[in-house]
């Protein structure tokens, strides 16, 4: 017989009250766990998408007057002939300290060409890298596979009346249209895309590129650090991080997290209130019993320990069950939110945190009832004496 065994015997007897208290806390913990696990899974999802989202670093010729527009380059009215990068220099990018985080380096050359009586923008790309990088490109037909093929942007195709399989003369060369880009809503719609060496030939820019898009894995790499590192190896160019998209998405995400936090706080507070009311009720119900304990020589601190021990035990159970329920709910909800490609991560740290949360809320909410119990006057409590 110890204080612990008294607590256990009491809990065995008052199952109804025990379940009520556990449920109150469990709901709070489950909500917090659901929101946290969902938001971390969604963060991972966003990062995953960012990694697949193409470039996040842009390397352009240094300029103090150009207003760049396509992916940063504006070609309209300004000669780009003098604005180019040496293709050979690009190898230096592979020497930066964080080079392992670079997923792809996609150089391209841009220029205007004449097709029939129209002027069109021609883009030469590293075929493998570009089509890999731009996963959102949806191509009717096939991507460019050889030198005599091109892929036309939707608007360019409409202007030139091109279809898949057509042949078209660009400057003095003939190309077969291997594919058409579905409408992207970006400047890509206005392009004719060919392989890099061919474009360099046509535009007379052998060995140079107009801009380079770099895809850095974003999950744990500090993009700005990589920008600095690339700037260090390529001192004569502009290197900038494309953070717009990331920032917008992250901002929306932060708002979701703040909203989640607010809801979680409210639910936890309600849980605390349930614990408080339940424990107060339990103490009132046990007034006589507490009187007996006091008369038998239990100190006030023993009574406080009895009540807090009971609350702690129930809280740990509620924390564990809350964690499991929260993860269960996340598992059900996550596929709906992410089209089913994000795995839920069973984080032991979150389990520990859930139990710790339940324990602190349970103990804090039970502290006043415990104090109240210890202050009960034993004679009042016993009456008969």
């Amino acid at each position: 017989m110890t204080l612990e065994s008294i607590v256990l015997s009491n809990l065995k007897r008052r199952k109804g009250r025990m379940i009520f208290l556990i449920l109150g806390l469990l709901l709070g913990v489950a909500t917090v766990v659901t929101l946290i696990s969902l938001s971390s899974a969604l963060t991972a999802d966003v990062q995953h998408k960012m990694d697949n989202y193409g470039a996040n670093i842009l390397i352009t010729p240094r300029s103090d007057q150009l207003s760049l527009n396509y992916g940063g380059i504006d070609l309209g009215g300004v000669s780009v002939d003098s604005r180019s990068l040496k293709q050979a220099d690009l190898q230096k990018i592979g020497t930066i300290p964080d080079h392992r985080n670079i997923a792809a380096v996609a150089p391209k050359v841009l220029g205007t060409v004449r097709v029939g009586d129209q002027r069109v923008m021609l883009m030469g790309v590293d075929i493998d890298k570009e089509f890999h990088l731009k996963k959102w490109w949806s191509i009717e037909g096939l991507p460019v596979r050889e030198e005599a093929e091109l892929v036309a942007g939707r608007s360019a195709a409409e202007a030139l009346g091109l279809r898949v399989g057509d042949t078209v003369a660009v400057e003095n060369r003939t190309f077969r249209v291997s594919g058409l880009l579905q409408k992207t809503g970006s400047q890509d719609d206005h392009l004719l895309i060919v392989s890099l060496p061919v474009a360099q030939d046509i535009l007379n820019k052998q060995g140079t590129v107009t801009l380079v898009e770099v895809a850095a894995l974003c999950a744990d790499c500090p993009v700005t650090d990589m920008v600095d590192q690339i700037s260090a190896v390529l001192p004569d160019v502009d290197v900038s991080a494309i953070q717009q998209v990331v920032k917008t998405r992250m901002h929306a995400f932060e708002q979701f997290q703040q909203f989640s936090l607010a809801i979680a706080t409210v639910v936890v507070l309600v849980g605390a209130l349930v614990v408080f009311v339940t424990m107060m009720g339990a103490v009132k119900e046990r007034t006589r019993e507490i009187g007996i304990f006091r008369a038998l020589g239990f100190r006030r601190s023993h009574i406080i320990r009895l009540v807090l021990l009971e609350a702690a035990l129930l809280s740990v159970v509620a924390g564990l069950c809350g964690y499991l329920s929260g993860m269960g709910v996340s598992r059900l909800v996550l596929p709906v939110l992410t089209e089913g490609h994000v795995a839920l991560y069973w984080d032991p740290l979150l389990a520990v945190a859930a139990v710790a949360l339940a324990l602190s809320v349970g103990a804090l909410a039970s502290f006043y009832p415990a104090l109240h119990a210890s202050r009960l006057d034993p004679t009042e409590a016993l009456r008969a004496l």
Partner: protein, 235 residues
């Protein structure tokens, strides 16, 4: 020096309208090994006296010492320690904890003592054996008769081998045969040297006491010393 000394013990309850004196300047000495009966009509101050002696109710004035300890000079927690080490309580309504078995109820006073589990159990089993309930250890209070519950309560009061047992109307809710069985048990304990103070208004059991104090209006009305069994038999 007497084992228990009350001097000038006064307890007043002040309500909005007036002031009620439950005890008026009571001075009594009790020797070790006494079986004292405190009797008197309702409202005479018997229960208040027992509460004060039990360290449960602070007197308005006066002093009470048990084994040389000035009770109300102690702090709250020390008073709790005093109750645990010096007193065994037997309450009128048994006051067993309903969700604990007979054995666990008896072990309650040991729950907060740092002694090995096995020793706690052995001591409780021994106490149950003394009150003749060795075979009922696993029963809940609701599964025991009134007399058996009273015996569990007595075993609980004994388990700590306290120098003093305080009993409040222990036969109050028992039939006359069971009452006498219980009183025989107390008598046997007293014969072994146990000091017992019992509050009762059951005249049938007065013959068990070797001293009777009758209270009336918070003051000692009569103090009979000596084997009252003989006094009762004499008339």
């Amino acid at each position: 020096m007497a084992f228990i000394e009350f001097s000038g013990l006064t307890k007043s309850y002040v309500t909005d309208a007036d002031r009620v004196d439950a005890l008026r300047s009571l001075s009594i000495d009790v020797k070790e090994g006494t079986f004292l009966g405190v009797m008197g009509p309702s409202g005479s101050g018997k229960s208040t006296l027992l509460s004060i002696l039990g360290g449960l109710c602070r007197p308005t004035a006066g002093r009470i010492s048990v084994d040389g300890i000035d009770l109300y000079a102690l702090g709250q927690e020390q008073l709790a320690d005093f109750r645990r080490e010096y007193l065994g309580f037997v309450f009128q309504a048994f006051n067993l904890v309903p969700y604990l078995t007979a054995l666990e109820n008896v072990m309650l006073p040991l729950a907060v003592k740092r002694i090995p589990r096995r020793e706690k159990r052995d001591r409780a089993l021994h106490a149950l054996e003394r009150v003749g309930l060795q075979n009922r250890e696993g029963h809940l209070p609701s599964q025991l008769s009134g007399g058996e519950q009273e015996r569990v309560a007595i075993a609980r009061a004994l388990v700590n081998t306290p120098p003093l047992i305080l009993a409040d109307e222990p036969t109050g809710s028992l039939d006359s045969q069971t009452s006498h069985d219980i009183m025989e048990l107390f008598n046997a304990l007293n014969a072994e040297g146990q000091t017992i103070i019992m509050v009762t208004h059951n005249d049938e059991i007065r013959s068990y006491f070797d001293r009777i104090i009758r209270l009336r209006d918070g003051a000692v009305h009569e103090d009979l010393v000596g084997r009252t069994r003989k006094l009762a038999a004499a008339g």
